[in-house]
Symmetry: C2
């Protein structure tokens, strides 16, 4: 989906300079607006903050999800790459899983409204969901599989369901002081742990 990388000697015509500049301006503006007004801020606001027209924003990012993905791509990549590393560093697969989930939760909770957007069924957000899934589900599967193999987690636990559930729990985690998703996720992790013996 919408790759941004370009190899130096591609025969394909390189993107024009102004287009590249505008794309960057849009990414910066969107990042600012997402913080101040959430990920479903009016498109017009982002466009005007970037000093471009609405046509431009839609040309670079056909759906809102494309823009959100582009803005958070770095963080998602970091999170995905942290998975295998934690598996190697930590004492046990379960400890690695727990810490990785912590990173995932930080990502969702820190970004105003990201968790909400991830689950809203509203049209264009579908591909946002898909991107997170494509990138992070394999990592979750790896970590969870290792923890199951080590006998630390009850077999039969569905990675997709777990990830989605954790994402759901993060909704509203940055607004209500009485609600801390991390505590519940810790409880959920207790729930998937295998009983000590048999």
């Amino acid at each position: 989906m919408a790759g941004v990388e370009q190899s130096p000697q591609t025969p394909a015509r390189a993107k024009r300079a102004d287009a590249r500049r505008n794309q960057q301006k849009l990414l910066d503006a969107a990042a600012e607006v997402f913080v101040s007004s959430g990920v479903d801020a009016p498109i017009r606001e982002i466009a005007s903050r970037a000093g471009v027209g609405m046509g431009t924003i839609y040309r670079h990012f056909p759906t809102r999800a494309d823009l959100v993905i582009a803005v958070f791509r770095h963080q998602v990549e970091e999170c995905a790459e942290a998975g295998p590393r934690l598996l190697a560093e930590e004492d046990s697969p379960f400890a690695a899983l727990r810490r990785w989930i912590g990173l995932f939760v930080d990502l969702l909770v820190t970004k105003h409204g990201l968790a909400e957007a991830l689950h809203s069924e509203a049209e264009g957000f579908a591909s946002l969901h898909a991107y997170f899934l494509d990138r992070l589900l394999p990592v979750a599967e790896q970590l969870l599989g290792a923890a199951v193999d080590a006998g630390e987690v009850r077999p039969g636990t569905q990675p997709y369901e777990l990830m989605r559930g954790i994402g759901n729990l993060c909704v509203g985690g940055d607004t209500d002081p009485r609600y801390d998703p991390r505590r519940l996720i810790e409880l959920l992790l207790r729930g998937i742990q295998a009983p000590p013996a048999a």
Copy 2:
């Protein structure tokens, strides 16, 4: 909020007959539309399905949440009343808690988009959240307290947080076949159970 009951001999002027009829038509229409188009269907659609103007719908139900509350009031009441009954019927407080949560989940999942609406921060839905809380949180506190007293649940579990978390887990539970909130909630319940001994 917005009581509908009226005592027979109230000195206050009784509501006009057509007003009462329209209110009922609106409730019926809203119930139908909520099923087919979700709880955030266009107001115009509900109004026209009921055969009334938009002014009428706003007069009877000033915010969308008021309408949603009115439509689901019966089910919420039933759920609330089931709490103490289950506590008396079931073998243990924890079993009662589990079954009651099952009822709560059914309520959220069966009604298309109710769970989503409950957590959307969008303006008028705040009072929907408040209503559910007012009515159901005390019940949850009672059940949870009993389970803690019986030594079945770890002390320190926050009723509000648990309820909200369960509500969050229900989001999307009626659309994605790979995601069944009930399984995760079962795991969460395992997580709050007290360790067998100390």
